[in-house]
Symmetry: C2
């Protein structure tokens, strides 16, 4: 049997509840598809700060590195919001991405037919929207040096960061995006701010160059401000989007919200080798933690992405996805996606229903 | 009589057509309100590249500096899209902002009752939306040094830019924003990425500090990715937003698009002293230039913003705004905001109707 070591990082807030559901689903799918799945757990984020005074303990990173894939729930919470920078849960996440070399963040924004009305946009504008944002995740202004605090010529304190991309960093994310576009509807829109930023000029140059290797993919370029508008004006124009770290942070979240059901959206962060990191788009929702109200479906769909992009088990991935859609078709809804005439269920109950439907 | 020198910069594309309308409106309002308005014109953007090989000739900047306010239409077009960086129309705009010290960009996003249905968002989500984005305009990553192209340790070419803000730059834009919020509904949301960027950490620290001078204004903070989501999820939660240059570029455009009628939106860019720069949010629309199809209302409303924020003539500003709303109430629409049952008019005709309604 194909056997895989999976590190589970339940994290903070609703993390443990939704992870529990995803783990059970994975176990059952493992049996059904003849995979041997070995799970180990580690602490990251706020939970790790509380236990080890470090949002990403070496032992957690080592465990992740030694596994075939990493499934993360969510990190952060009010409790740690006022901590100094290096003692914040987010640092654990950034360290994890960098430590795993997970430079390609895949962020699908899919409007599910069952949930079209959850969108704040008109039905005819969002029906059928299916966008994949490919965000560069380990470079750009998130990691660029120098950064910090200084004093300028006028003697004023300053804060500064460096946005920087190298040819190699752009080329490899561009290739991931072109490959993705090729498997989808064959259109790639590269988003930058090349009318102002030198970083973006190199970005556009290289994406154009790599595009020559993919003559079957239709490449276009758009400025980031215009992209922020076009996502609202006519989101169906987009297939695959590729962009840098900070623009991707903003645009992938904007695209997610078009669906109106962020509790449904998974994400994948993958590198050239080594395990990928899979996590829901939503946060740790500390306000509803421990109340059995969380929607576990984004976590479950993240497990499906893990199977597809991390373990190359597309059949198992598909089985999970089909089950989720089936459960939605049957009318089961957690509070965040509830609407009139549907059946409201809690997190654990949604898990049971998934298991019975698998 | 109060007399003002106004520099008109018609720019490119539809610029001259819509500027003509705004100038006529200003002339009439000048008479009605007892102002003496002296107009001069200069070239910027593509038109200036064609004529002088420079998107912002010294003579144009000098004229602007010597005036009481600058009214710009729009710049840019396909024709100059492949020019090298310093010969691009946008450089003229960036130079103008810097040259006038116009560090505060005021970008209203108002959903007009007559045009609610133009939005791609549901009526109940956008009805009554009235957001003012205060964008820092002469600092941040747009102007930070060092920037350019280099080679990294691995021998790879790089492109880089510096995001940098000083205490003084943050404090002055924060004050503009707090004053604005005070005149509006008393709520200010500062947008940053302080969980990742040092620049944002200083930003948040200073905005919080300046906030102590405005105890009557309710200050909140939001990460830029969340702001991009919240604008779509529940735009009515926002009153005034303050943010840096690149985040403001993205979010102000996103907010504009919520209205669905970007052809209606004006903007102002003002400094501590010296003339302000007033321009519509929309671009130069080269595809419809010279066809008498452009919507001149954003340009006319920019003239109103000029009267209010640039020349301290609120009565004249109000007169223009009331006339625009009145003309909309009567059902006149240019193509971009046309809907069933309304009366389609061209750019010049819309101008005539405004003059008759003033
Ligand atoms: C928590 C934060 C550091 C992170 C990011 O900005 O990358 C988050 O917003 C995300 O998009 O995963
Ligand atoms: C044309 C471009 C340089 C400009 C900017 O990015 O500031 C534009 O997008 C704007 O917002 O006025």
């Amino acid at each position: 049997a194909r056997s895989y070591k999976i590190t589970l990082l339940p994290g903070d807030g609703i993390g443990p509840e939704i992870m529990k559901v995803a783990k059970e689903v994975l176990k059952m799918v493992g049996q059904q598809e003849g995979m041997e799945l070995a799970f180990e757990e580690a602490l990251v984020g706020g939970a790790a700060i509380d236990e080890y005074g470090n949002p990403l303990p070496d032992s957690s990173l080592a465990l992740c590195r030694n596994s075939d894939a990493v499934l993360l729930a969510a990190i952060g919470g009010y409790k740690w919001d006022n901590n100094t920078a290096h003692l914040r849960p987010e640092r654990g996440l950034l360290g994890l991405r960098a430590g795993l070399g997970a430079f390609a963040n895949l962020r699908p924004a899919t409007v599910l037919p069952q949930l079209v009305d959850a969108s704040t946009l008109k039905r005819e504008v969002v029906e059928g929207v299916d966008i994949m944002v490919v965000r560069e995740l380990t470079g750009g202004i998130y990691f660029g040096q120098p950064k910090g605090f200084g004093v300028n010529e006028a003697g004023e304190r300053t804060g500064f960061n460096t946005m920087i991309y190298s040819v190699q960093e752009i080329d490899r994310i561009a290739r991931v995006a072109f490959e993705m576009a090729r498997k989808r509807r064959g259109r790639l829109c590269s988003v930058d701010k090349s009318n102002v930023l030198e970083t973006s000029q190199l970005w556009r140059e290289r994406v154009t160059e790599i595009g020559k290797e993919y003559p079957d993919v239709e490449l276009s370029h758009m400025y980031v401000d215009n992209a922020a508008m076009q996502l609202i004006r006519a989101p169906k124009q987009f297939d695959t989007i590729v962009t840098g770290n900070i623009f991707g942070d903003i645009l992938s979240d904007e695209a997610s919200m078009l669906t109106g059901s962020i509790g449904m959206l998974p994400s994948a962060s993958v590198g050239e080798s080594g395990p990928g990191l899979f996590e829901p788009v939503h946060g740790s929702a500390p306000d509803i933690a421990g109340q059995d109200k969380a929607n576990p479906l984004a976590q479950v769909l993240s497990a499906a992405m893990m199977l597809r992009y991390g373990l190359n088990e597309p059949a198992a991935a598909q089985r999970i996805e089909a089950t989720v859609f089936n459960v939605l078709d049957k009318g089961y809804r957690t509070g965040d996606i509830m609407s009139a005439g549907k059946t409201l269920v809690g997190c654990a109950q949604m898990g049971d229903i998934l298991l019975h439907s698998l």
